[in-house]
C-alpha cells in the first residue's frame, strides 16, 4: 500500500508542458528523491501535490484519499507538509511565532503550540534564535526554520524543495543529517535535490524527470547510471 500515489499527472502552461503523464508511488517510510535538470517539472509537481496547482489530467492520492481538488491548507491538514525552494519565512515574525503558526494547525491551545514550537526549534538547532526576527536569519538558518515550521504541522509526508540549494558547503552535512534523522524517525519524505552527491547518499529511490516526463525510477545507483539521465544532465557526449 503506497502512502502517496501520483497517477498520470499532466500540467500545461499555455504551450509549455510542465508535467506529462507523471506516475509514481511513495511507500510509507520511504525517502524518495526527485532529480532533473532545470525546467524538468520538479517544482510544478510539488505545487500539484500540495494543492497550489490543479493538474489538467491525472490525480494525486494520499493514504487512499484524493488530494487533487483540495486547497493547499486542506492538503496540509491531511498530513502533507512542504518547504519552498525560494524560502518564504514570515519575515516580520519571530522564529518562535513562525513555528507556532505551523503548530497551531494541530492544537488550539496557544501555550501548547509554543512549547511544541520551542521543542522543534531546538531540534533543528535554532534554539538561541527563538526570539529573533526571521528577517535576521541567514539562508541556512531560514532553511532550518522552514523545516521546523513544516514539521510543526505534524506531517506524515514531508516534501522538501532543495534542501541544500543556496547553502554554504559547511552547512550541508548538518542539513543532510537532519533529513536522515527525520527519515530514521519514521517520516516519509519526497525530496527535490540538485546536488547528486547528497541525493544519492540519502535517498532509497530516485525518480528522474526530464522535460516533464519520468525518465527513470529506481535505486540511486541504477538511476545514476541510466543512459537517459546522463544524457539529460550532461548531454549526449557523456553517454558511455
Amino acid at each position: 500500500m503506497s502512502l502517496l500515489s501520483v497517477a498520470g499527472v499532466s500540467k500545461r502552461f499555455g504551450g509549455i508542458v510542465a508535467n506529462r503523464g507523471i506516475s509514481f508511488d511513495v511507500a510509507p517510510g520511504e525517502l524518495v528523491g526527485i532529480i532533473g535538470p532545470n525546467g524538468a517539472g520538479k517544482s510544478t509537481l510539488f505545487e500539484i501535490i500540495t494543492g497550489f496547482y490543479h493538474p489538467d489530467e491525472g490525480e494525486v492520492r494520499f493514504d487512499g484519499e484524493r488530494l487533487t481538488g483540495l486547497s493547499p491548507d486542506a492538503v496540509c491538514r491531511r498530513g502533507v507538509a512542504r518547504t519552498f525552494q525560494k524560502l518564504r519565512p514570515f519575515l516580520g515574525l519571530s522564529v518562535l511565532d513562525n513555528v507556532m503558526v505551523g503548530a497551531l494547525t494541530r492544537t488550539r491551545d496557544v501555550r501548547h503550540a509554543r512549547e511544541r514550537a520551542r521543542e522543534l526549534i531546538g531540534r533543528v538547532g535554532l534554539a538561541e534564535k527563538a526570539e529573533a526576527h526571521a528577517r535576521t536569519l541567514s539562508t541556512g538558518q531560514r532553511k532550518r526554520l522552514e523545516l521546523a515550521r513544516a514539521l510543526a504541522t505534524e506531517p506524515r509526508l514531508l516534501l522538501l524543495d532543495e534542501v541544500t540549494g543556496g547553502v554554504d558547503q559547511r552547512t550541508i552535512p548538518e542539513l543532510v543529517r537532519l533529513v536522515r534523522d527525520l527519515h530514521a524517525g519514521g517520516l516519509t519524505l519526497l525530496v527535490i535535490e540538485h546536488n547528486m552527491r547528497v541525493i544519492t547518499a540519502v535517498a532509497q529511490r530516485i525518480v528522474a524527470l526530464h522535460l516533464g516526463e519520468v525518465i527513470a525510477d529506481g535505486t540511486p545507483d541504477v538511476v545514476a547510471r541510466d543512459r537517459r539521465v546522463i544524457e539529460a544532465y550532461l548531454g549526449q557526449a557523456y553517454v558511455p
Binding site: 491548507d73 491538514r77 516580520g92 503558526v101 513544516a150 504541522t153
Partner: protein, 324 residues
C-alpha cells in the same frame, strides 16, 4: 499584564475625565477621539492585522450612518436597531470585499475598495426615494437612551468608550489567540500560511467582516451624535483615509496604536481648524496638508507608528536604568 498598563491608563482616563472636566468643547473632543479611534481600530483589524489595506472603509461607515438615519426617520425605529442593521449590511458587503481580497492583491485590492465606496456614494446621493439623495438626512432628535437623543455629552463619552474597549479587545484577541497568529501569517505571506494549514481565505474574509461591522457601528453612532448624514461626507475617500491615517500614525497592527493615532490626529486637526479655519479664514484646508505631511513622515521615518516609537524609547530608557 504590564503590557496592558498603557491601554488601561488610556481608557480609565477617558472614563474618568467627564467626571472632572465639564467643558463642552473638551468633551466633544474626547467623543471624537474615541469615535475616530474606534474606527481606526476597526480599520486596523483588516488593514493592520490581516494586511488587507482598504481605502474604502467609509462605505461601511456610511452604511451604518444611513442605517440609523433611515430606520429612525422612516419607521421611527431606535438607532440601536439601525446600528445593528447597518452592521449586518456592512458584514454582507464585507463578504463581497473579502471575496475580492482573495482575487485581487496589493494595489488592485485598494482600488477595488475605493471603487466600492464610490459606488455607494453614487447610490446614496442619487437614490432620492430611499436616501433623500444628495440633500442628506437630518436625524431627528428624540430624547432618551433608546433613541440616542442625549444632550449630556458625558453619556456619549461613555457609550463610545464601550465601543472603543470592544474594538481594543478584538485587537487584543488578534494578538494573543490562535486565529491572531494565523492571521499574522496570512499578512506576512499568504502562500506560506496556506502551506502550513492556515485557512487563509476564510480568515481574511472574517477579518474584513468584523472590521466592516465595527466601522458601521461607529457610523451609526456618529450619525446620531452629529445629527446629520451627508452622502458626500460619510462615503468620502477623505474619511477612509482618516481611518487608515490614524491607524498608521498610531501603529499598524497594534492594539492601542489606532487610539493614540486618533488622539493625535484629532487634536491637531481641531487646533488647526480653530486657528486657520473659522469664518473668513484664509487657510481652511490647512489640516489636509498636515495630514499629507504626517503620512509621509510616518511612513518614511516611523513605520512602526507612535506605539513603536514610544516602545523603542521606553525599552532604551529601561535598559539605561538597569545597566549602571
Amino acid at each position: 499584564m504590564r503590557a496592558l498598563a498603557p491601554a488601561a491608563v488610556f481608557f480609565a482616563s477617558a472614563a474618568l475625565a467627564p467626571l472632572v472636566v465639564h467643558d463642552a468643547f473638551f468633551l466633544d473632543g474626547l467623543v471624537l477621539i474615541l469615535l475616530w479611534g474606534t474606527t481606526a481600530a476597526a480599520w486596523n483589524v483588516a488593514g493592520g492585522y490581516a494586511g488587507q489595506i482598504s481605502l474604502g472603509h467609509s462605505a461601511f461607515f456610511g452604511l451604518g450612518a444611513y442605517g440609523a438615519a433611515i430606520l429612525g426617520t422612516r419607521w421611527e425605529l431606535s438607532p440601536w436597531l439601525g446600528l445593528v442593521a447597518g452592521a449586518a449590511v456592512a458584514t454582507a458587503i464585507g463578504l463581497v470585499i473579502g471575496y475580492l481580497s482573495n482575487r485581487l492583491r496589493g494595489p488592485y485590492f485598494v482600488l477595488a475598495t475605493i471603487a466600492f465606496s464610490q459606488v455607494l456614494l453614487l447610490g446614496g446621493s442619487r437614490w432620492r426615494a430611499f436616501t433623500a439623495g444628495s440633500e442628506g438626512i437630518p436625524v431627528p432628535f428624540r430624547p432618551g437612551f433608546w433613541t440616542l437623543g442625549l444632550v449630556d455629552k458625558r453619556l456619549w463619552v461613555w457609550i463610545l468608550l464601550a465601543f472603543a474597549v470592544l474594538a481594543y479587545l478584538v485587537a487584543l484577541y488578534l494578538e494573543r489567540a490562535r486565529r491572531g497568529y494565523q492571521l499574522a501569517a496570512v499578512r506576512e505571506d499568504e502562500d506560506a500560511a496556506l502551506s502550513l494549514g492556515v485557512p487563509a481565505r476564510r480568515l481574511k474574509v472574517v477579518a474584513i467582516c468584523v472590521s466592516a461591522a465595527l466601522t458601521a457601528a461607529c457610523g451609526a453612532l456618529w450619525a446620531q451624535y452629529v445629527g446629520f448624514v451627508d452622502p458626500f461626507y460619510v462615503f468620502s475617500i477623505d474619511l477612509s483615509i482618516r481611518f487608515a491615517l490614524a491607524a498608521i500614525v498610531g501603529g499598524l497592527g497594534t492594539a492601542l496604536g489606532p487610539f493614540l493615532g486618533a488622539a493625535l490626529v484629532t487634536t491637531v486637526e481641531t487646533y488647526l481648524r480653530a486657528e486657520f479655519g473659522g469664518i473668513g479664514g484664509r487657510f481652511i484646508g490647512t489640516y489636509l496638508i498636515v495630514y499629507g505631511c504626517a503620512l509621509i513622515v510616518m511612513v518614511r521615518w516611523l513605520p512602526q507608528g507612535l506605539v513603536g516609537w514610544i516602545g523603542a524609547r521606553w525599552h532604551r530608557g529601561a535598559a539605561a536604568r538597569t545597566t549602571p
